[in-house]
């Protein structure tokens, strides 16, 4: 029996359980949502520093060369958030699946992979209580505005191994939708009936990515990737908008200075300011270019029985492109995020399955607003 298709079915079924998204955030209410991180549990535990070299992450197509046989993988992420809304805090939570993928080797030099990962997250729900005066009489109204969905990145990618260098190419399709709804309830007056209005927005776009991994010195690997995106078309039944998407550039290193210890770091940049004019045209605050930095260390000296037990720690920081509040003339405060990370991994089933666990604890800050989060990543890789 060929197990490759079965693995694909398994990971896609897993993805179908929930749209890929690493984390939700109430800050996703602005712009195109929360820029997500398509990292594996391992990369997540390493602060994203390993993301350019991680074959399970959907960033650098050249990293797919890390697969030497057929493999399927999926990542689940449970997040707990605490949002400070000024007069109190809300405890929020969600379970998502940031990345799922399937890869297969063709000969000894080529690896093909299909991945589905989150690109933009638009899951949020905010509630307001107000007093309105229909018919001249004050009535308490509870308004709830919520969005579910986002933009998923489907990637068909290839890596090609050459001596001392690996090249990668990926073709991306951005797809997905959001179901946005607004409702009003009148808790204290039964004469009024609740109101609900909903809208579905579909997204479509394409992109290309290129990547390379070079090993200039023994134990040291450097990598870089560039992703060029076209326009993202957002359409409803009666209107549409085309938003230019950014060029994304990442560069990083991976080194093993001593046996059993690995260090990885990645710096990323994306010119989200390309979308500024289109967003401003819809009345939103313009987006900005953003940087991201991630570093991580993996210590691979512990053993659990006969299994190796790599321990990972990391730190990451990033800017997010969409200002919080304000408008096209006076944008609100910029949003940034940082987190410390940790995790471990182990093989099972005679090395045919790997389980990675990662913890991501951090906060997002935009001026006086803040949201803290804790995300637990669970990654499963199967090499049948």
């Amino acid at each position: 029996m060929r197990r490759g298709p079965a693995v694909l079915v398994a990971v896609l079924a897993c993805a179908g359980a929930s749209r890929a998204a690493a984390q939700d955030s109430v800050f996703g209410i602005r712009g195109l949502g929360l820029l997500d991180r398509s990292v594996s549990a391992k990369s997540g535990a390493l602060g994203g520093g390993f993301v350019l070299f991680d074959p399970a992450a959907a960033v650098n197509p050249a990293s797919l060369a890390g697969w030497h046989a057929t493999a399927g993988w999926a990542v689940g992420a449970g997040s707990f958030r605490s949002f400070d809304y000024g007069t109190g805090t809300s405890s929020l939570s969600a379970t998502r699946f940031p990345v799922v993928g399937f890869a297969g080797a063709i000969g000894s030099k080529v690896v093909l992979a299909l991945t589905a990962s989150d690109y933009l997250d638009r899951n949020w729900s905010v509630q307001q209580t107000d007093t309105v005066s229909p018919r001249g009489t004050p009535v308490v109204a509870n308004d709830n505005t919520q969005s579910a969905g986002g933009v998923t990145d489907l990637r068909l990618a290839m890596a090609y191994r050459l001596p001392n260098i690996t090249l990668g190419f990926g073709a991306h399709i951005l797809t997905g939708s959001t179901n946005t709804s607004v409702s009003r309830q009148f808790p204290n007056d039964s004469a009024f009936v609740p109101f609900t209005q909903a809208q579905t927005t579909d997204y479509a776009g394409v992109g290309l990515s290129f990547g390379a991994l070079v090993s200039p010195l023994p134990g040291l690997v450097t990598g870089a990737s560039v992703r060029v995106n076209g326009r993202l078309r957002a359409s409803t039944t009666d209107t549409a908008a085309d938003i230019p998407m950014p060029v994304e550039v990442n560069a990083g290193f991976y080194d093993q200075p001593v046996a059993g210890i690995s260090v990885a770091g990645t710096v990323g940049w994306a010119n989200w300011s390309r979308a500024a004019a289109a967003l401003a045209a819809t009345g939103q605050a313009p987006s900005r270019d953003v940087w991201s930095v991630g570093v991580g260390v993996e210590v691979n000296v512990l053993r659990l029985g006969r299994r190796q037990l790599p321990l990972r720690v990391g730190y990451r920081w990033r800017q997010l492109p969409f200002p919080i509040g304000g408008d096209s003339v006076a944008p609100g405060p910029a949003l940034s995020e940082h987190a410390i990370t940790a995790g471990l991994g182990f093989d099972t089933a005679s090395g045919r399955a790997t389980v990675d666990l990662g913890l991501d604890v951090g906060s997002r800050v935009a001026g006086p607003l803040s949201e803290s989060f804790t995300t637990l990543y669970v990654g499963l890789t199967i090499r049948p």
Binding site: L92, T95, V126, A191, V193, F195, T196, T348, L380
Partner: protein, 402 residues
């Protein structure tokens, strides 16, 4: 352990660790993290001048009402007429050598009435009881019955205690009410009232209420005249006659309730937008009264609007579901505008189930046929004073793109 078994194990572990939680809703901080667009509401008044309306009396007839009425009001005079069933002339006795005993002497009579409504402010109220021919004309009118309401036929007048409240009350009437030879055991009574001030009284008729009961206490014939028994009979016929007689509501009037009960049928010519819209959060039918709401002092009753599912005019089939009806409580003496919630009916019409039903509603009193309460509304013929529909809706919300 195979790879697949390990995978299932780990997947189960991961699922148990994370669960499938989804808690996204939070109060937000405005304006930074609130939607750029706010919901806006607006009101509009839809005149129903293009609609049709009619009103008909007689949906619950006097003989079908749950109450019997005695009244001395200037606006409504009424006398109750009851023909009680015949009681036996003998009774059986067990445990003796005798099988049966025959009535020898009538001792006393007790009339039991389930008082329903009265004006408790009126004191020294008395029931006036006349004897009627056993086979009185059930088509009698208030005028035709007058000759029988004479001193010669008076049986008794009994006091209604000033403290009497709703419920069963017994009244000892004449010590003897001789059985007429030709009456085959039937006893027919007319029951009116008298009081220092004009008032009214209702009591149960037996239709979904407790019927009057006439109890006769008897002795057996000699030599067994120490034996006694009680015969209780309920009405064979019960009704009341009123003055002035009931008439159909005049043109231009939408009558609801009264004697016999009236209903009003409104055909609403509503824009499709109003019926199909999910943005309507409140709809109210505005009805202007003509005169004051009638009924007992301080009494109240409901006016209910129900959708018609099959239009057969005044005999239309209603959809008697409280979830799809509008209801409002009206009070005796009330005047002015009465507001009746129409949102449940509009929602019903907006559903698949209700989209084929006529845009007709029936206004009726509730509970129907159990109160003398009545209210008259201006019809569409009254122009601006006619029925209107006030609609509160939420303006279309602009989500924007993206």
């Amino acid at each position: 352990m195979s790879a697949w078994r390990s995978a299932v194990l780990v997947a189960g572990l991961a699922g148990a660790m994370m669960g499938c939680r989804e808690k996204l809703t939070t109060p937000s901080r405005c304006p930074e993290l609130c939607p750029a667009t706010k919901l806006e509401m607006a009101d509009t008044l839809l005149p129903l001048a293009d609609s049709a309306d009619t009103s008909v009396r007689g949906f619950v007839l006097i003989r079908e009402a749950t109450y019997l009425l005695a009244s001395t009001l200037d606006s409504l005079q009424a006398v109750t007429l009851i023909r009680f069933s015949a009681h036996d002339t003998m009774w059986t006795v067990s445990g003796t050598t005798l099988d049966s005993l025959y009535i020898g002497k009538q001792d006393s009579l007790v009339l039991t009435l389930e008082l329903a409504q009265r004006d408790t402010a009126v004191k020294n109220l008395r029931l006036v009881i006349w004897r009627l021919p056993a086979q009185f004309d059930t088509g009698a009118t208030y005028q035709s019955i007058q000759p029988y309401l004479a001193d010669s036929t008076l049986v008794d007048t009994v006091a209604v205690p000033d403290t009497a409240q709703a419920g069963a009350h017994t009244f000892n009437i004449a010590d003897s009410l001789p059985m007429q030879p030709g009456d085959s055991g039937y006893v027919s009574l007319a029951i009116g009232i008298v009081a220092p001030t004009k008032t009214a009284l209702t009591f149960g008729s037996g239709n979904l209420s407790t019927a009057p009961l006439l109890s006769t206490y008897v002795h057996a014939r000699a030599p067994f005249d120490t034996a006694t028994d009680v015969f209780s009979v309920s009405p064979f016929v019960s009704l009341f006659v009123i003055n002035p007689p009931a008439t159909q509501p005049p043109p231009g009037i939408l009558a609801v309730g009264g004697i016999p009960t009236a209903r009003a049928l409104l055909s609403l010519s509503l824009p499709k937008l109003v019926v199909d819209s999910t943005s309507i959060v409140r709809a109210t039918l505005l009805l202007n009264t003509v005169g004051a709401v009638g009924g007992f002092a301080n009494d109240s009753f409901y006016v209910v609007a129900e959708p018609v599912v099959r239009d057969y005019g005044v005999k239309s089939v209603l959809w008697p579901d409280s979830a799809t009806s509008g209801i409002v409580l009206v009070h005796q003496g009330q005047t002015g505008q009465i507001q009746l919630d129409m949102a449940p009916i509009l929602r019903f019409w907006g559903t698949t189930q209700g989209d084929s039903t006529p845009r007709l509603i029936m206004l009726r009193a509730y509970p129907e046929g159990s109160t003398i309460g009545a209210v008259n509304f201006s019809s569409r013929a009254a122009g601006a004073a006619g029925p209107q529909l006030e609609v509160t809706y939420v303006k279309p919300y602009s989500f924007g793109v993206p």
